[in-house]
Each structure stands twice: as structure tokens, then as C-alpha cells.
Symmetry: C2
Subunit: 116 residues, 2 copies
DNA sequence: TTAAGACATAGATGAGTGTAAATATTTAGG
DNA sequence: CCTAAATATTTACACTCATCTATGTCTTAA
């Protein structure tokens, strides 16, 4: 149970990019989230997980979608997880990832300023 | 007058991240936009420009906000401009940048899926 | 206990990136 | 013209990053 606000949440509700200048520390908190998303493989991973049935996907479902080695996919998943964009759950031999749609929505609200 | 759709616009209208898996080429088109935003300095630059009165800011307004050299700021502005997130207009000795709020909104719609 | 499969970690490497110093370009004034 | 000011470009460098190979850990099944 994590009740702390992510760097995005502390700002997204009332201070989108265009409303007032981001402080240096706010920017340093948000940039890593964007950085995590700013890779073609990770964008596709997020999309694959988020659009997968049940809202979650096993790593075994993901590896086959790329022409990359298994450790590379694992590496990208770790980055997305570390940024708080993916949840991780181990069930038996398999590991399932689930998209943090709240984090995505907050990011979107910050950037676009008009999401709900 | 540029009537072509940006990589984001081709997708944002009906295919947010969570709706269906992003294709490799879509992801490769969108990632550079996120990459451009995924830096604390560039995030603050975007925010400074977007929230500045008149929706635009002179480079002279921006340089002072950072503890960085003028060429470094110029470099970041070039990246944001190259990604299509900032418009550039020279007036006399000064160069004014303006935020492409449409591009930001499209990005937000793609990520969050619910903006309008 | 052994073996096999799913996933993660470690180490190495080549490509990319943020920054500064030096220099160039453009514009307005004298 | 010449100079000064605003901004961009070039070059160089330290650092980060995406990727692979090799290896480790954990879980299930035989």
C-alpha cells in the first residue's frame, strides 16, 4: 500500500506545463518518467501490457513481440517498473506486468493539461 | 504551412496506448517526441515558454532561468524545435519561441487516452 | 535431487547525450 | 563600415544507455 504521491501527482492536478513554470525539482522528478517512456521498445511494451486482456501480460507474452534478446526485454521492463509505470507480480514461474494507468493519466494531465 | 500530420496525430485520435498495441513504426515516431521532453532542462524550457505571457518567450528570457551556458540552452531549444514542440520566430535581434500546444495535447491524448 | 524452464543480473561494448569553450552569424546603431 | 549584442554552430569530452553474451536464481516436475 503506497500512499505517497508520485512526482507527477504532486503537480498534475493543478499545474500543467502551460499554467506556470515548472520548478527545477519538479522537472527533475518528472523527467525520469518521460525518459522511461521515451524509447520505442518501452513504448511498445507499455502498450502491449496496457492493451492486453485483463490489463496484464506475462513476460512470456512480451518476449516474442520483439526481435530482441530476453535480457534486453527484461532490462526495459525493469526500467518501466522502476519508474512506477508498470506493476510487477510473480505467479508461479511467470511474472506478470500491469500498467499503472493512473501514472499514465497523471503524466498526460501534466503534459496536455486537459485530461480528466 | 505544414499540413502533414505529426507521428502523434496519426495515432492519438483513436488509438491511445491502452487501446491496442503500438506498432514498431508508430513507436519509433512517437519516442523522439518523448525523448525531447524527457530532460529536466527541456521540461522547464517548455513550461517557461508555454506559461509565459503571450504564449511565447524570447531566448533572453530563458537563459537567465538556468545555471547553464547560453549555448547549452540554445542546444536544448533546438532539440525541442526539431521535435516540433516549439515554434521559432526571429524578430530583430531576438528569437521568440512558442509552445506547440497542439503537439502537447496530442502526446497527452496518446499517453493518457482521455484528453479532449 | 536433478533437470528444465522462466526470468533476472552482471559485465562488456558501441552509440548517443548533456555540457562547456571557442567561434560564427545575424542584426541594430553609431 | 565598425562595433556590440543576441543567438547559433562546432568541437571535444565525460557520461549514460541499449544491447548482447554469459551466468545466476527460482520454481515446478519427474
Amino acid at each position: 500500500m503506497n500512499l505517497e504521491l508520485t512526482p507527477v501527482q504532486t503537480v498534475a492536478c493543478c499545474s500543467p506545463l502551460s499554467r506556470e513554470p515548472l520548478s527545477a525539482s519538479e522537472a527533475e522528478g518528472i523527467a525520469p518518467l518521460l525518459k522511461a517512456l521515451a524509447d520505442p521498445v518501452r513504448l511498445r511494451l507499455m502498450s502491449l501490457v496496457a492493451s492486453h486482456e485483463g490489463g496484464e501480460a506475462c513476460v512470456c507474452d512480451l518476449n516474442g513481440a520483439f526481435d530482441l534478446s530476453q535480457p534486453t526485454i527484461s532490462h526495459h521492463l525493469k526500467i518501466l517498473h522502476g519508474a512506477g509505470l508498470l506493476e510487477r507480480e510473480k505467479r508461479g514461474v511467470w511474472v506478470y506486468y500491469r500498467a499503472r494507468t493512473d501514472a499514465l493519466a497523471n503524466l498526460a494531465a501534466l503534459i496536455g493539461g486537459q485530461s480528466r
